[in-house]
Amino acid sequence: MTPKPEVVVLACTQAVPQPSALRQALQEVGISGRIIQEPCSSKVEAFHLLRILAKGADLVWVVGCPEQYCQLAEGSTRMGFRVAHAQSYLAELGLEVARLGFSRVAAGSPEGLAATAAEIQLRLKDLPPNPARPRPAA
């Protein structure tokens, strides 16, 4: 039986004030993921993303605010750069860069959350289980 993919979403509290709404949007496309709230998407460091993948997640996603509405001015913009920087490590490792992604959602927008869930679902379609996950102890 194919194991369920492990999805972790790091969500800015301004973009996703109600994590339950994001959880529901994900469930509607058949995904049960772990949602971690962040004070701003700019607090997500590249090493957070890589660590979560190293611990066994199949896909890690960051949700931030539209760039011009980020309360920390450049935060959402920087988040995009950091995801790209983390993706460069994946490329160097020969891992799919699609295991990392981000979206920008206007505060709590149901359409934005639905689009995010749809994009995650699309990514997961072509992603096999994470080959870099820890091996189970013998």
Partner: protein, 228 residues
Amino acid sequence: MIVGQRKSLQELQEMLTGYKKILLAGCDTCVAESACGGRRETAELAAALQMAFQMAGREVELKETSVDRQCIQEFLVDVVAAAQEVEAVLSLACGAGVQALAARLEKIPVFPALNTLFLGETAERGVWLENCRGCGDCQLGYTGGICPISRCAKRLLNGPCGGASNGLCEINMAHAYDPPVPCAWEQICNRLQSLGELERLYNVKPSMDWSKAGAGGPRRVVRPDQRL
């Protein structure tokens, strides 16, 4: 500050072949500023290497630490203690830091995670440019604060070569630098002109004594007043 660049993950994995417990040690001064060896980069590299080892089927335990400066012996006490629990250390410091740490760990190999590149400044976010070669005979006062040794591709001491075009060094014709390399001597002339000191250029500099720049062997500074 010293600017470096991380070695490839492949080279690092090859270096660390056979070791099962490894400590990654970062440095939070120069290489943190140049975004290649600080605690953030140490955490990034640890996670990336963990994934690399897991993909290769290697069971490796990685630990992380970082200190303010690896080039200061007294700062290394905690790293030395942590290193007693591992088989090898991967240092993200510059060459000076790697060696300072290695000198304190006689029985534990220390590997460099970076290629140490140059002395430079943060010209803009994400861009570090070389501007000092440590030549040991600083002439910046005579060149308007612009170094011809490090910033002129030919290290000319007495004026431009004539190969510049639109203020840019001719090496830009061989390689598309981004940002492009300006002609250091054009910058020097412009700067001295704005300072009202263009006449300095009429003082012809003699040939450089390269022994001060390291051609005479490893350099040192000894201060008797500092040796307690």
